[in-house]
């Protein structure tokens, strides 16, 4: 059991490194920073809805398209950003930027993710009454939710499939219970993450104890 977990851990550790290599082989740091800034800017400009929307978009961009991160890593980053204070997209940019180019990367990524809302809001604050009462804008924002929902569904289907692939009943059960708690019972995300952290620690203790017995 422990052996299996260690192997799994090692595999997970290597996978993103390989994927990342494929993504930025032969690129200078300057190019990386520019790509980071550009992609954060575009993602942030198109994120309608809450923080988890941008996580889905980031997963598609950085994991599926650019291959900079592994999927597990992206989920870890999401869990960390959710447990830190502050806006989720900004937190995620800090960590992703740090991962790709160190502290400078964090600055660049955060700049990319806060500039679009700052520019848009500065313009809108001048004539916000016209904006708020505009019929066409209201319709466009309403229908756009269908597209946003489709993007999140697509990402969640892939992620949930991978959780099921671990074939650990504990993980699958945790996913289902966490969903019911978050969606139907309105339990806060922070609490869910803390409880799962506790379960993870217990799981670790059980594994260590089993290893000792054997």
């Amino acid at each position: 059991m422990e052996e299996e977990i260690r192997l799994a851990g090692a595999a997970q550790g290597e996978e993103p490194a390989q994927a990342a290599k494929a993504g930025y082989a032969g690129k200078s740091k300057r190019e990386m920073l520019w790509t980071l800034f550009k992609s954060m800017f575009v993602l942030s400009a198109c994120t309608f809805g809450g923080g988890f929307v941008i996580v889905s978009l980031m997963k598609k961009k950085y994991v599926d398209q650019l291959g900079w991160l592994g999927e597990d890593e992206m989920l870890d980053v999401t869990a960390i950003t959710q447990s830190c204070p502050g806006p989720l997209p900004v937190n995620a940019s800090v960590i992703l930027g740090y991962r790709m180019c160190g502290i400078l990367g964090s600055f660049v990524a955060v700049l990319g993710s806060i500039l679009p809302p700052m520019i848009i809001l500065s313009i809108i604050s001048v004539f916000y009454n016209e904006f708020r009462t505009n019929h066409y804008i209201a319709i466009a924002l309403k229908v756009m939710r269908a597209g946003v929902a489709a993007v999140i569904c697509d990402v969640v289907i892939n992620l949930a499939k991978n959780v099921c692939k671990t074939r650990r009943v504990l993980y699958i059960a945790m996913m289902v219970v966490a969903f019911v708690c978050a969606y139907f019972l309105n339990v806060s995300a922070m609490l869910i993450i803390l409880v799962c952290l506790g379960i993870g620690l217990c799981d670790l203790c059980v594994n260590l104890w089993k290893k000792k017995e054997a």
Partner: protein
């Protein structure tokens, strides 16, 4: 200058204490801006939230820019936004440092492994909320079949199909659904009239 400093400190607190995403920040901002400092009326604040929800980007960045611009011009916007992200920036950087230092240890993997299903569930829950809002114009508890939105349902289906089958880009999906949906609604209005 006093005003800018006060704005900075207010939003620094908002950034530091808003754990758990954008909607956790709204009551904090309200408290700072309306109740503690009296820089805005409750009415102005309600408008602010409406606008912040309608525009792209994180809600706390949106509201700090909006409050800053209205109270102290573009410079105010920059001061508020910086105040809002300073504390999270430092905390996340520290977390990132420790995560990348220790993530490959098997024990850490074991614990992080238990967090992943929860994260998937949280993203799923956010998706379910938006889907229900798009299809029924209400939250889950208030669903009425009479409010079922056919246009959104078809749009959702087509988008999901294109995403899964042809792997089209997420941003194209969101912007495309907005454009196509608006045209369909306008055509429908014309036909019914």
């Amino acid at each position: 200058m006093d005003k800018l400093l006060q704005l900075f400190l207010s939003f620094f607190q908002v950034g530091l204490f808003s754990v758990g995403g954008g909607y956790a920040a709204i009551p904090l901002i309200q408290d700072q801006i309306v109740n503690v400092t009296g820089m805005m009326t409750l009415e102005e604040f309600t408008d602010l939230i409406t606008i912040a929800e309608m525009t792209p980007g994180p809600i706390s960045i949106n509201s700090s820019t909006f409050v800053g611009t209205r109270l102290a011009g573009p410079f105010g916007a920059i001061v508020c936004t910086l105040g809002c992200i300073l504390a999270p920036f430092i905390i996340c950087l520290v977390m990132a440092y420790f995560y990348y230092k220790y993530r490959n240890f098997s024990g850490v993997q074991n614990v992080l492994g238990a967090l992943r299903p929860a994260t998937v569930a949280l993203i799923g829950s956010a998706g379910a909320s938006i889907l229900v809002l798009a299809l029924f114009q209400s939250k889950w508890a208030g669903i009425q079949l009479a409010n079922f939105q056919w246009i959104e349902f078809v749009l959702f289906g087509v988008c999901l199909f294109l995403l899964r089958k042809y792997k089209i880009s997420a941003i194209a999906t969101i912007l495309g659904s907005g454009a196509v949906g608006t045209v369909v609604y306008l055509l429908k209005d014309m036909v019914l009239r």
